[in-house]
């Protein structure tokens, strides 16, 4: 018996085993092996693309050929910052994004609260699946559905409002806000749900025991605790609304947002479009910097 064990141990290690042992002893080699491919891709393909966008904003364009001329100039940035039309579009876009975010919070928080605290545990997974599934159903199809619904005379909303004598919203800012709210609602519900789930039920009980009515409990106990999750959700709804150019084209009528200005100008004047595209980047950087202080980014 002992002889068998000794024989097995004395066998020379196979090449594979030696390689495995060597890798085990050198974690940095393993890390390098793992990291090379993805890091190279991300840096070469994506980071360089971002840098090229930044640089292109300072280039200019040949008037006749629309080809990009690689001469550094501040003209584009100056034009973007001083022309009222573009500033107006930027302000409008931020306003739309803020409204959408607010609506998503107002609609999404009750839903998330219901899912996390009120619904019986068994149906919780089902509810989550129900909320997540449309998140992934085609973006374009959803916008298209809303286009059908907000049609001034024949749309679903007009038909539903008929008994009240109200006209449908038609195409425009209202339709854009409604559609964007609809599109990004799951992005708000899910982080808030995750945050609420982490909150112990005993806190709600304790608050009630101390005499607070439900509204007071929500205001003074739940919201402060779940605030980072709400902010995390708002990062998505704000960012996605800020850069959107397709929804506004389909249901927005003549509304101009940053997104569709970029879309309209990028083929004829790429550097100018790049300059405009920097606005949402700058806004998001500021937003994220503000958000970091609330600790919301840790929950992402």
């Amino acid at each position: 018996m002992t002889g068998d064990v000794l024989e097995r141990v004395e066998q020379p290690a196979s090449a594979r085993r030696r390689l495995s042992a060597a890798l085990f002893r050198h974690p940095r080699v393993r890390l390098a092996g793992l990291l090379t491919l993805p890091a190279t891709w991300l840096v070469l393909v994506y980071l360089s693309a971002l840098v090229s966008l930044l640089v292109t904003a300072f280039f200019t364009v040949d008037e006749f050929t629309n080809a990009v001329v690689r001469q550094l100039t501040l003209d584009n940035v100056r034009e973007v910052l001083t022309t009222p039309a573009y500033l107006g579009a930027a302000v409008r876009t931020v306003a739309i994004a803020a409204t959408v975010t607010l609506l998503c919070v107002l609609l999404g928080f009750p839903m998330a609260f219901f899912m996390a605290k009120v619904a019986p545990p068994r149906s919780r997974n089902l509810l989550v699946a129900l909320v997540v599934t449309p998140l992934w159903a085609s973006y374009l199809v959803k916008v298209y559905a809303w286009q059908a619904m907000v049609q001034p005379e024949t749309g679903l909303i007009a038909w539903a409002l008929q008994p009240f004598g109200l006209p449908g919203p038609g195409f425009g800012v209202t339709a854009t806000v409604l559609t964007l709210t609809y599109l990004w609602l799951p992005y708000m519900v899910l982080p808030v749900y995750a945050g609420l789930e982490r909150m112990p039920d005993s806190l709600l009980d304790a608050s009630g025991d101390l005499g607070a009515r439900p509204a007071r409990t929500v205001r003074s106990v739940v919201v402060p605790l779940v605030w980072p999750s709400i902010v995390a959700g708002s990062v998505f709804t704000f960012s996605l609304s800020l850069g959107d150019y397709i929804t506004v084209q389909i249901v927005g009528g003549r509304t101009q947002m940053i997104g569709n200005i970029v879309y309209q100008t990028y083929t004829s004047n790429l550097p100018f479009a790049a300059a405009i595209a920097l606005i949402p980047v700058a806004i998001m950087v500021v937003y994220l910097a503000l958000v970091r202080r609330t600790g919301a980014l840790d929950t992402l």
């Binding site: 994506y46 449309p134 298209y144 005379e153 519900v189 850069g243 959107d244 940053i258 595209a277 949402p280």
Partner: protein, 255 residues
């Protein structure tokens, strides 16, 4: 309140499917008559079929690349500490964290102006792969963190070398998350329009691009309705499967 919210979420999708069966070509609401002839007609439409094929090709390539890169990255970031870890985590999320138009234009300037590349189906696939990486990465990382190194260490204590451990212990544990990530990545790529519009040349038409081009053509409306209904149904299936497979991560890794 919950019911209202869910209704709000699902009504437009139901409208799409119902509209695809609407017999009238005006698509007023409520529909008066129902028919399946639009579905039959669309099945035979050559440009639709070509668009479906293109979308599938791009999605398959993007998912495959994302699977490889995302899993490698998940191992690197979940199991090791190194300088630049935070930066890498940020970099992998950026493609979907930045507003779509920014990512789209960045790819456009990167491909055309700086690399001098002509746009092709490959530029579309490359762009898709880049933001699908984070989907796979999120799922894989969540699973890796949940299972920890204990099973792997136990396996090696019992005599298995690194490769065997991966084959018999790590991979089976990771499989579900990878599959969930792949399904989500496929769905995301199939449906993608924002970045695709900027990275596709005139000849390359994915299904969303096809819809976008035909949205303003009233006589194509019935076909568009059918295609839209199909897209809804197609995206619902992989998501549902991925939820069943992934289990613990509620958002499937997108958030």
């Amino acid at each position: 309140m919950m019911a209202v919210g869910l209704a709000f979420v699902y009504v437009p999708l139901v409208v799409i499917v119902v509209n695809s069966l609407n017999a009238s070509t005006v698509f007023a609401w409520p529909p008066q008559d129902f028919t399946t002839k639009w579905w039959v007609q669309t099945a035979g439409n050559p440009s639709v079929r070509h668009a479906v094929l293109t979308s599938v090709e791009v999605a398959v390539v993007a998912t495959a690349v994302a699977l490889v890169l995302g899993t490698l990255l998940a191992f690197a970031l979940a199991r090791y500490r190194f300088f630049g870890l935070q930066a890498m985590s940020l970099l992998v999320v950026l493609p979907i964290a930045l507003p779509g138009i920014v990512t789209a234009l960045a790819f456009r300037t990167g491909f055309r102006t700086f690399l001098g590349l002509e746009l092709s189906i490959w530029t579309v696939a490359i762009a898709h792969a880049t933001f699908c990486v984070v989907i796979v990465y999120n799922n894989a990382v969540a699973r890796l963190r949940r299972t920890g190194v204990a099973p792997e260490e136990a396996s090696m204590d019992l005599g298995a070398d690194g490769f065997t451990t991966f084959r018999l212990v790590t991979f089976p544990l990771l499989r579900g998350a990878m599959l969930a990530g792949a399904l989500l990545a496929f769905g995301l790529s199939f449906d993608e329009i924002v970045v695709t519009l900027f990275t596709a040349p005139p000849g390359v038409t994915t299904l969303p691009i096809w819809i976008f081009q035909n949205l303003q053509r009233p006589n194509q409306a019935p076909t568009v309705n059918v295609v839209a209904a199909v897209l809804v149904l197609i995206s619902v299936v992989p998501i549902y499967l991925s939820q069943r497979v992934a289990g613990e991560s509620t958002a499937g890794g997108r958030i």
